[in-house]
Amino acid sequence: MTALIHRLFDFERDESVGEVLFYRVFELIVMYWVVFFAWKWGLYIQRLGDIVLPLGIANYVDVSFMFTGGMSLWNAALISIAFFVGLVRISRYGYLAAFLLMHLQYASRFVLGEISHGSNVIGFVLLGMALAAVFFEDMTHRRRFVIGFSIFFIGLGYSTAAVSKLVASGVFWVDGSHLWMWIHERTVDTYSLTGVLSQNPLQRTLLDSHLLSTLTLAFGLVTEFFGFLMWYRRRWIIMTLLFSMHIGILMSMKINFPANNVLLLVLAYPWASLLDHGLGHLKKASIDRIRWISSVLC
């Protein structure tokens, strides 16, 4: 556990200007997704009128008050403001408020039986930001905690997904005919959405080959199972494979996980070191100016 914490968090290492700038960009990316989900769900919630399957807080609170009077839009506005409060460090509780209100927004949006997982990674990062702001004073420690916490729970999430499949279906989950079932299911979904019945060349190829379909599922299951490898130094390898898996899911089943993809790409590679390398070519005065701006803004 201690070695894992040292690898993921490493509070003692000096923080570079590149790391500070990278984290600010990371926060802005998270802000984009939080605001995007908050308003997308907020607009849709106004179309809802009943609770078919309560999720989260909706098990204890009748969230139908969110369906009318623009309540979900007010909540989206509050989430956006709370995140901004956290972003500009007005209050250390801004991110916590945004996280709790996002849970309410999610529980209000997904009441009809659909359980969406496209936003879970953003939820974990936001939770990490909330905990960091509440429990750590030093900004360097906060930043290190958020990145480590995010990588820990994103990795755990992928491994958990693989374990769920193994528990529910065993190793024969990889049977290619299961992929055929999902391709047909998604073909119906796409037809329902667009009114056009179509399958792309990859889907047709997979439907023609049981072996290829089995290998595709096997790749997905093994890659997900080893998601926890992102806790180690060469995390870019497993994160790149997971990104490839998402591209495969998009092409074979037309299911997109854009927030996952963005976070995988952002957390997989040493962007901070690249920034430092780029800054190394600047004149000292410019670096001092950037250092001053980053100390003020971040």
Binding site: T2, I5, H6, F9, E12, Y44, R47, L48, G49, D50, V52, L53, L55, G56, N59, M102, Y106, A107, L112, G113, E114, I115, S116, H117, S119, N120, G123, F124, L127, L131, H141, G148, G157, T160, A161, S164, K165, V167, A168, S169, F172, W173, V174, D175, S177, H178, W180, M181, H184, E185, V188, D189, Y191, S192, L193, T194, G195, V196, L197, L217
Partner: protein, 167 residues
Amino acid sequence: MESMLHSVRIKRLLTGTLLVYALLVSTHLGEFWPFSIYPMFSRGGHDWSRAIVRDMKGSAGAIRWEPSSIDTLPGEAFALDDQGINQNDIANFVAKSAQWSPRRVAAMRKVFGPALDSRQLLLYRADGRLEEDKSITVTFTPFIFMTSDSTYFNPSLDISFESESNP
């Protein structure tokens, strides 16, 4: 000394989050956003039910409640995306509503909103099944017919209604 304190704090935060994670997913059927056991696509090869919608305006004659194949569906395709409707929500109404009530009917009509003002929509339940010989069959069964002011359920389906609710 300070680094040890930080390490202890991180351990506590991770352990605490993991405990909350385990507690919430174990008591809420695996889902409590953002905590999840990610059960999507975990049940390989199982039957599935989805939904499609047909625009019946202009279709001559009474509604026929018999199942169809994709090639013999009556009316015209109704693209949910054009109306900003999520297809999962419609599929869940059809597949996961164990009991219908006036409130649920009103809720489904509300999702369609103004699209119902000038249309007659027939919702089909699409049932996918993996046969013994590994072939896949998809059957489309009429489920609900909606006009601008009325809603009719397929009388041959075993649909449960709350009292005084069968529209």
